[in-house]
Amino acid sequence: MDIAAERIDRLHDLARAAAADGEDERAKHYVRLARRVAERNRLSLPRTFKRFTCDACDAYLRPGVNARVRLQDGHVVITCDCGHHARYPYE
């Protein structure tokens, strides 16, 4: 695992911890930085990272706190507080 992938992992943990502490702005900074590192190094983000961050406002999503999770027919809809929806399928 190279440094960039490790940095992304670490930023993911930091973002989660910051969000849990209520430091939302700080969590957003970490999420943005992780995205930027992935972009510069041509890495894809881990699936958990994609599922727990908002594409529109970079917030780290905590279901029940700043995100709503609803099951629809064949897919999950996650709604961020900013109003953005993300969908992914389930079996």
């Binding site: 695992m1 190279d2 440094i3 960039a4 490790e6 940095r7 670490r10 930023l11 943990d13 930091l14 911890a17 700080r26 900074h29 970490y30 930085l33 930027r36 590192v37 510069r40 190094n41």
Partner: protein, 147 residues
């Protein structure tokens, strides 16, 4: 490529326990805490436990600080020397921080040498080596100290 003393200048600094060893501004020497935000030219350090003397001065000046609230200080990278504490586990254990800084006082490390504590290594890095955008730092090829 784990976080080692050699790779630290290219690795993630956010969340690491840090101490300002030397600085152009004498008031900044001795700042201890955790890196919470990095910009091209500065590191923001959240003080874990504000030192007594510091708290005093703040009360005197009647400044913004509330009791028990953490303060975030911004330290310029250029002209400062930072000492990072690296643990073997994921970084940012606040528990290890207390012992880390105490040990560091007794035996300051030279870059890139690390003093081996109990799975805590102290790395002293000149701030000018960290001068670059947070996302760009990783990309410099090789771990040569001349880049």
């Amino acid at each position: 490529m784990a976080l080692t003393p050699e790779t630290l200048p290219r690795h993630e600094l956010n969340g690491l326990p840090v101490r300002v060893v030397d600085s152009d501004d004498a008031d900044r020497i001795g700042i201890m805490g955790r890196v919470v935000l990095e910009t091209t030219k500065t590191l923001s350090i959240e003080l874990c436990v504000p030192p007594e003397a510091d708290r005093w001065r703040c009360d005197e000046a009647g400044e913004r600080r509330e009791n028990g609230d953490s303060r975030v200080l911004t330290v310029p990278k250029s002209g400062s020397v930072f000492e990072f504490a690296i643990t073997d586990e994921a970084a940012g254990d606040e528990k290890s921080l207390g012992t880390a800084s105490k040990l560091a006082d007794t035996q300051p490390a030279d870059f890139p040498a690390d003093c081996a504590g109990e799975d805590v290594a102290y790395v002293t890095v000149d701030g000018s080596r960290l001068l670059s955008r947070p996302a760009r730092r990783t990309e410099t090829k090789g771990d040569s100290p001349w880049q």
